[in-house]
């Protein structure tokens, strides 16, 4: 077991390094840097000016060197610019070059500086992540119990009317991407078009003070898309358990049906959905980006859109590290959790 976790961690680390390198490479491509120079410096820079602007700020170093510096395994650059000013990567604003530390990267806890928000990437990511965490918490609170109940009810009597109607409901919910359900919900429940103006169409106010009126629509929009998938997985696992021998034995013993479902079937039926719920996190990240854009909730997904739209390299890298980390950790948890929950599987 220990070896298994260790190997998974190794693969995870390798994946994280590869992914961040890909993001680093894509954001540091020539045209992107040129755009960065023009937005940061002067929109009407000549080509020579762009080149020297980039050289002075260390962007023209070879890609592996830049990546090493960003990661914190290579010492940060100290470049005497063509304009006579000496700049160092690790220089704090206002700090003399000589006092700057030689290493500053992710490993030293220095995430860099956002060019769009004019703030430390670390603090931006932390505050935005907290806001998205609040959203995700409520999404999970709605989605997981809802999906499990639908799945168990549908799966306990396979082929019954209840099963068929609930399965159709879950198909409909998987077929509704967030940008469709969000738009439909807003126009039905937040505008006067249908006379049902019950909720707020934006969630900006929910960042400080979330209540039912302004937070329900974004939460239900994300929850709905994931719910159908988890419900179908739960149903599949429940129907499988219900045909097992021990359930038949319990029936023949004369145990009542609700008792069979709750005491005998439920626990075994919930192993597979656990994995699925964990693997839903990467998908939920998509939903978060769409919903935060749609409802103007300035969380993590909104920052991703801002960073990517403005080629804010360091912020984008910070955002991608966090999202890649979330994806990989949930994969790891789902693998380990599956082994722990299911005694039939033993890692040799």
């Amino acid at each position: 077991m220990g070896l298994f976790i260790l190997r998974r961690l190794g693969v995870m680390l390798l994946t994280a390094v590869c992914l961040t390198f890909i993001v680093f490479w894509l954001t540091n491509l020539g045209p992107n840097l040129e755009k960065l120079a023009k937005t940061q410096g002067n929109a009407r820079m000549s080509d020579d000016a762009v080149v020297s602007w980039l050289e002075n700020r260390g962007y023209s170093q070879p890609l592996p060197v830049k990546y090493g510096q960003w990661l914190g395994v290579l010492p940060g650059y100290v470049i005497e610019g063509t304009d006579g000013e000496t700049r160092a990567r690790c220089q704090e604003p206002g700090q003399p070059v000589e006092d700057a530390s030689s290493f500053c990267g992710i490993l030293q806890g220095d995430w860099g500086f956002s060019t769009v928000f004019k703030d430390e990437v670390g603090s931006i990511v932390a505050t935005r992540l907290a806001l998205t965490g609040k959203l995700m918490f409520w999404v999970m609170m709605v989605m997981v119990p809802g999906a499990l109940i639908i799945g168990v009810l549908a799966g306990m009597r396979e082929g019954s009317r209840t099963d068929r109607s609930l399965s159709t409901v879950s198909i409909v919910s998987t077929a509704t991407p967030e940008y469709v359900s969000g738009v439909v919900f807003i126009s039905v429940f937040a505008t006067a078009t249908f006379g049902m103006q019950w909720f707020k169409g934006t969630a900006t106010a929910a960042m400080d003070d979330a209540n039912f009126e302004n937070f329900f629509l974004p939460v239900i929009t994300i929850a709905l898309y994931g719910m159908g998938y988890i419900a179908r997985m739960t149903r599949a696992s429940m129907t499988e358990v219900m045909t097992a021998q021990y359930i038949r034995t319990a029936r023949l013993k004369g145990v009542s049906f609700p008792k069979i479902v709750l005491k005998h079937a439920l626990r075994n039926a919930l192993i597979a959905p656990f994995t699925v719920i964990m693997l839903q996190f990467p998908w939920l990240l998509n939903g978060v980006v769409i919903v935060e854009t749609l409802f103007n909730y300035k969380g993590f997904g909104w920052v991703l859109v801002q960073a990517a739209g403005n080629n804010d390299i360091e912020l984008l890298l910070g955002v991608s590290i966090v999202s890649v980390f979330v994806v990989l950790v949930t994969q790891l948890i789902s693998d380990i959790g599956y082994v722990f929950l299911n005694p039939r599987i033993r890692i040799s």
Partner: protein
């Protein structure tokens, strides 16, 4: 010209009937659902798993009620569609006029269903689809949009106005608004109103279907070609190749899709030529697939093989070169007379294929791992067949069931991805009538004008829902064998 109402004179009779029937249906369905847990025993019904179950009484009544109320509601809905066809212009309201515009689609659908149901026993898996209600509904929804795209794209039939022309005074106007005298167009109304640039929403919605119906299945086919060509050897050989390919697939899958889109689908990245190189890499796989497929079958008869292989590879190679060859990008070497077409949205196409291919790879790899231990594989190995023959002619045909089901689901997912791209305004021009972009345009003023964003949203929903239902029906029917 007066503005159109939603249902016109037809609504006087049908609207109260529909309201009554729908509310009764909802009540009956809730009653049936609740009774499902506390059913009073009356008759016995045998379940597929060999158990007996009590049925009837109040529950049986509710079930019969739901059935008949559903049919009655369906009849009213069909009446909304059919009756306006014989009524003069304008008297049947917006819904009636839309139904008239879709007349060619209705005819095509009816013909298709009648013919298919007549010959369903001779049509294999496709015919079996018509045994399942869910599958038929899904197929109907999908074919509705396929026919719409066909008639709009090829015969220019359904759309009422030009999807790009703006008519002054119709900005954000509500559905059924009359257009000013002398405006070009087939009918004197904007059926679903005008958007924020005063263009006809109805025409934009039906034109948008052409984009989706053309791109989504094609991108899915390419993703399948890549996934199959790489997944078969990974599952069959295992070992280092499998470890490497699976690692790469997991790498791509660990990327949040939206981040990937934002990184790949920008004008700056197009400038660097990365999408062109990716296209050159990804689109070669169909060529490899068909080359190996035919070669592994006919290599014992060189004359026949050459006769088949040369034209196939020739045509595919030409198509391949035409696709990757784009004016003004890094790959631009073909003379213009040889270049069949220029795809302006190559980057969208490439990124959608790129995102989908790893999942297909994983599915194919899993199926191959399962199927390679079968007896017919051992038999083929004993016969001395080559590895690629076994993979492509023994394993692949036996994996077709799950792959067909996944193909339907994946077209739906691709449609969602294309919508996501449009929603974030990535890679598509803002004028583009595709559903994602139109939703994006509409959502900006959503709290003031809800009507521009709803039609494309519902259109996209119905297409994806149709594909999912179709996949569900296919899965159910293919499991019955």
């Amino acid at each position: 010209m007066e503005a159109l109402t939603w249902t016109g004179s037809l609504g006087a009779i049908l609207n109260p009937a529909l309201t009554l029937l729908v509310s009764l249906l909802v009540v009956a369905m809730i009653a049936q659902f609740i009774l499902g847990f506390f059913a009073a025993p009356m008759t016995l019904q045998s379940n597929p798993d060999g158990t007996l179950e009590a049925r009837g009484g109040a529950l049986g009544l509710a079930e019969t009620g739901v059935k008949w109320l559903f049919f009655a509601t369906l009849a009213v809905v069909v009446a909304y569609i059919i009756v306006p066809l014989v009524m003069p212009y304008g008297s049947a309201g917006i819904i009636g006029e839309m139904s008239k515009r879709f007349l060619p689609v209705w005819i095509a659908l009816v013909v298709l269903f009648v013919v298919s149901i007549m010959y369903k026993r001779k049509l294999g898996l496709y015919g079996k689809l018509f045994d399942s209600t869910i599958g038929m509904i899904g197929f109907g929804l999908v074919m509705f949009w396929v026919f719409t795209a066909l008639f709009v794209g090829m015969f220019d039939m359904i759309a009422t106005h030009d999807y790009l022309s703006q008519v002054s005074g119709l900005k954000n106007k509500t559905p059924g608004v009359p257009v000013p005298e002398g405006t070009a167009g087939d009918i004197p109304h904007y059926l679903l109103g005008g958007d924020n640039l005063a263009r006809d929403i109805f025409s934009r919605m039906v034109t948008g279907s052409v984009f989706v119906i053309a791109i989504a299945p094609l991108a899915t086919i390419f993703a399948f070609m890549v996934g199959i060509t790489l997944g078969l050897p990974a599952g069959f050989y295992g070992g280092k190749l499998d470890t490497f390919l699976s690692f790469v697939a997991n790498l791509i899958l660990a990327f949040p899709v939206i981040l990937l889109f934002y990184l790949l689908v920008t004008p700056e990245i197009v400038l660097t030529g990365i999408p062109s190189y990716m296209a050159a890499f990804l689109f070669i796989f169909p060529l490899i697939f068909f080359g190996v497929l035919l070669n592994s079958r006919y290599y014992t008869q060189p004359a026949k093989r050459t006769a088949i292989l040369v034209p196939v590879i020739g045509v595919l190679g030409w198509l391949y070169l035409s696709i990757i060859n784009q004016k003004g990008t890094v790959i631009d070497f073909l003379p213009a007379w040889l270049d069949l077409f220029d795809i302006s949205i190559l980057v969208v196409f490439v990124s959608v294929v790129f995102v989908n291919a790893p999942t297909v790879f994983r599915i194919v790899r899993g199926l191959t791992l399962d199927l390679r231990t079968r007896d017919y594989v051992a038999a083929a190995q004993t016969r001395g067949e080559g590895a690629w023959y076994i993979m492509l002619w023994e394993i692949l045909p036996n994996a077709r069931g799950p792959l067909i089901v996944d193909f339907c689901l994946r077209i739906g997912y691709t449609t969602i991805l294309l919508g996501t791209l449009g929603f974030f305004g990535l890679g598509l021009s803002s004028e583009s009538p595709d559903w994602g972009s139109t939703i994006n345009e509409g959502r900006k003023l959503l709290l003031i004008f809800a009507h521009p964003a709803l039609p494309p949203a519902i259109a996209l929903l119905s297409l994806v829902l149709g594909l999912n239902l179709l996949a569900d029906g296919l899965r159910e029917e293919s499991l019955k064998d």
